[in-house]
Symmetry: C2
Subunit: 151 residues, 2 copies
């Protein structure tokens, strides 16, 4: 069939796109009580690993553009989770640091990854399958990131 390749069933990207959306949806019951969104949770993960980072470092670790992260951080600042201060050496930089509220949220969030793992196991009856997917996804991400930067 001439258009076989155009069938939805044959598309990897569609799977990734859908799986990502639905998995993010699975975080809702855990993030809603904290009053944060999934991308905001990602920013917190980055800052919990290392506090006080410029916007650019955060964006880079999340593979996002700064024009996505800046408004995200502005909303998080308004919500009292982070502070944004001018850099000392390089005044162009905005150093993002956790507030007391942002630091304390780590304690409330620390069980979330285990909850999600359990949920996936319960839903699919499988875990190893998804753990095994991680290196493949990393390879894909690294490859795509490299080529899109080289343009």
């Amino acid at each position: 069939m001439e258009y076989e390749q155009l069938k939805l069933d044959n598309q990897l990207c569609f799977r990734l796109y859908t799986a990502a959306r639905l998995t993010m949806g699975a975080y809702h019951p855990y993030l809603d009580p904290l009053g944060i969104t999934y991308p905001q949770y990602l920013v917190l993960l980055v800052l919990w690993e290392q506090d006080k980072q410029p916007v650019n470092d955060i964006a880079h670790k999340l593979f996002l553009e700064t024009n996505t992260v800046t408004p995200l951080l502005q909303r998080m600042e308004k919500a009292g989770l982070v502070k944004r201060t001018k850099g000392k050496e390089d005044t162009r930089q905005r150093i993002v640091s956790l507030t007391k509220k942002g630091i304390e949220m780590r304690e409330q969030a620390k069980h979330i990854p285990d909850c999600l793992s359990d949920e996936i196991i319960q839903i699919t009856g499988e875990e190893e399958e998804f753990v095994r997917m991680i290196p493949s996804l990393d390879k894909l991400i690294e490859g795509l990131k490299r080529t899109t930067n080289n343009k």
Copy 2:
């Protein structure tokens, strides 16, 4: 370490989210000349498989909410790709059908899946790895869809 689970490195969802965004980005060189976005391309895939479907069917096949698909279709109608007509039996329904322009775009798009496959192979030196990921992703998607519908 108490917070080990919170490390970004450990998160599957972050990989899916990132891989999906970057893969969608890889479609840009092919979709921009056609003047469509990736979600619009998905709608076309659905309609190319079967023309004249109600909004709900399209949304269901893409695992999207109708309130996402409706504005998407409105933009596609404005772009002259689809028509939206009132249903005959059930007048609540809006039947979406391809215009001449929408039908013809299939010919221009038919090489896209192969281009993307080639690109992924070239970037990662691997294909089987990602083909093997598909059933796992389907299992995840089906599981998540089932549980979120049962709420």
